[in-house]
């Protein structure tokens, strides 16, 4: 790919105390792709996401987002940057003191100057788009099921139509049907809105259905990156367990290509 990367992680080293998580990790993410970050538990996938979002500071190396180091965005520039991305946290991270409606309206209200009736229409449209009803809008997050939390969190992440969407374990905790629906939802949104997706996932079905490129985190760096087929051909103990284990055969057995429709179409 010759296009300029939207995210450029350059020789990143992360460590907590003496525990090194990433060592000279480099990764480029290009516009409009869906990149899946995979790796065993504790391989630093979520930590990498936090580095890209600028929530943590690396010990060494640079993370560039939209061409500039993420920690160089300060003040109004940082605010403008946050309008260009959205993040779906693993547990949703919905504001528990606010009902569903206000959770989604919050980023729009933070823009200032948008009239409340327009915000209302946009929020209700998004809820309906995520398969939720206007009655759900009045619920508090504690009254939502796991699948609904994910949908509301996705609606909030998409509230400002971001160019860049981060998903941390988007299908974790959902039943297979909900999970398939959620994957389908993201795929339709990606096709129609054309954003870039960086997702951390353990779920092979999700990778098979969504990812245009896979990056495998192991041994403190990106061990392999490329299409799913290419990654699966790599010889490494981790891949044998992860991509060729029993679960993988189940997930990839019939549909070993992401062109194949996954779940319902």
């Amino acid at each position: 790919m010759t296009e300029a990367p939207i995210i450029d992680v350059d020789n990143l080293t992360t460590a907590f105390g003496t525990h090194v998580v990433h060592k000279d990790l480099s990764l480029k993410i290009y516009p409009k792709e869906i990149l899946a970050l995979v790796g065993g538990s504790g391989s630093g996938k979520t930590t990498l996401l936090r580095q890209i979002l600028g929530l943590d500071r690396p010990r060494a190396g640079i993370v560039r987002v939209f061409g500039r180091p993420v920690h160089d965005y300060v003040g109004a520039e940082r605010v403008a940057l946050t309008h260009r991305w959205g993040m779906l946290f693993q547990a949703g991270a919905l504001f528990s003191a606010l009902p569903v409606f206000d959770n989604i309206a919050l980023p729009l209200r933070e823009m200032r100057n948008l009239p409340e009736d327009l915000i209302r229409e946009v929020v209700l449209m998004r809820l309906s788009w995520m398969g939720l009803t206007a009655q759900d809008a009045a619920l508090m997050p504690s009254a939502l099921s796991g699948g609904m939390v994910k949908r509301v969190a996705l609606a909030r992440a998409l509230a400002l139509d971001p160019e860049l969407l981060f998903l941390d374990e988007p299908t974790a905790g959902l039943d297979p049907q909900r999970s398939d629906e959620f994957v389908e939802l993201i795929r339709v949104l990606h096709r129609e809105l054309g954003f870039t997706v960086v997702m951390v996932t353990h779920d092979l079905d999700t990778i098979a259905a969504l990812a245009t490129r896979v990056a495998v985190l192991a041994e403190k760096k990106v061990l392999v990156e490329g299409t799913l087929e290419k990654v699966m051909e790599t010889k490494h103990p981790f891949f044998d367990a992860f991509f060729h284990g029993e679960r993988a055969v189940r997930a990839f057995g019939a549909t070993n290509s992401k062109d194949t429709d996954h779940g319902k179409s």
């Binding site: 403008a80 309008h83 504001f95 528990s96 003191a97 729009l108 823009m111 200032r112 100057n113 948008l114 009239p115 009736d117 327009l118 209302r120 229409e121 946009v122 209700l124 449209m125 998004r126 309906s128 788009w129 206007a134 508090m140 997050p141 504690s142 400002l160 139509d161 129609e192 054309g194």
Partner: protein, 386 residues
Amino acid sequence: MALTSGNASTPVLSGASAAAVAPLVAMDGARCRVTGNWNVQALAVKGEVRRLKQALAAIKTEGGWDLSDIGLLDAVGAQLLWRQWGQKIPAGTALTEGQQALFQILADHPVSEAPPQNATDWLAWIRAIGVGWFVVGEHGRKLLLLLGGFVLDFFKFLANPLRGPWREISAQIYRVGTQALGITALVGFLIGVVLSYLSAEQLEMFGAGRFIVNLLGIATVRELGPVLAAILVAGRSGSSITAQIGVMRVTQELDAMQVMGISHGQRLILPRVIALAIAMPLLVLWTDAMALFGGMLAAKWQLGLSIPWFISQLPDAVGLTNYRITLIKGVTFGIWIALIACHFGLRIEPNTESLGRGTTASVVTAITGVILIDAMYAVIFNEMDI
């Protein structure tokens, strides 16, 4: 289709005049051309949406709309156009494939009209008073149940003390007692100094300077020491107990304990109540001692009373009865604070706001209760002539 006359190709509206990206609606012949950026960033300029709405409302076009030169269009901008179009794409409108898809989504997910505002309820305040009483009654009932549960757990503990939660009790005593020594000492000492300093002046006027020992002794040991220590502990440990149990509700730890058959009463409430019942009287004594120490120093500066004399006079002035009263108050306040903190902690719902409210309510109730109990003790001891 007839050409619309007059204002053809006149910009109906422009945003910030120089910026090429500002959203714009303009007539171009029979067609209405929409240009500029129609995304949330461009629309979130003060007054922009209102102006665009007026401009859109003013347009009566027969020739359809042309969106081909639009810069960025997102769901917010599309929603604005969509509403003005009356929830359908006007005939003869040129859309790119992406725009078509976007408006198709809007068409698939119509938004209902805003529900009418409920009429103002003029009698709401009367209802609020009634509800308030019910809430108070509910709190009282729950608190009584909690106390009963604690008494039962305590008897179980006495029947089989070896199986009791000793580690938790010891940890709690350290947390609510040992770690509170610094702050209670500081506050007690300062209050002692202030009290002694102020009363020394008055007493000296009557030449009764040496009665400062009686005044300080009775006031601190009987009233001030216990109440001061209780207020500090309620703010310090009461709030932390409530918050801790509350977060356990949020993180489902309370549910996990129930599933494992571990009783909240035995593992959470019993150790905390016992720990405060043990630590509180000790803290009260400590506060008393510090207040008397501060008062003694102030009396030496102000009245020149010697420290050995002050100490020798103390036993006569205070007496064993007052010493017992201070201990009884300490135990009662400790149990009260722990029960209130646990009560509000267990009532917290799994959201952040409830956590904040619960902690506040816990501290306020604990302190108010301490002062009420203190007043009750004053009446009781007075009737008993001690």
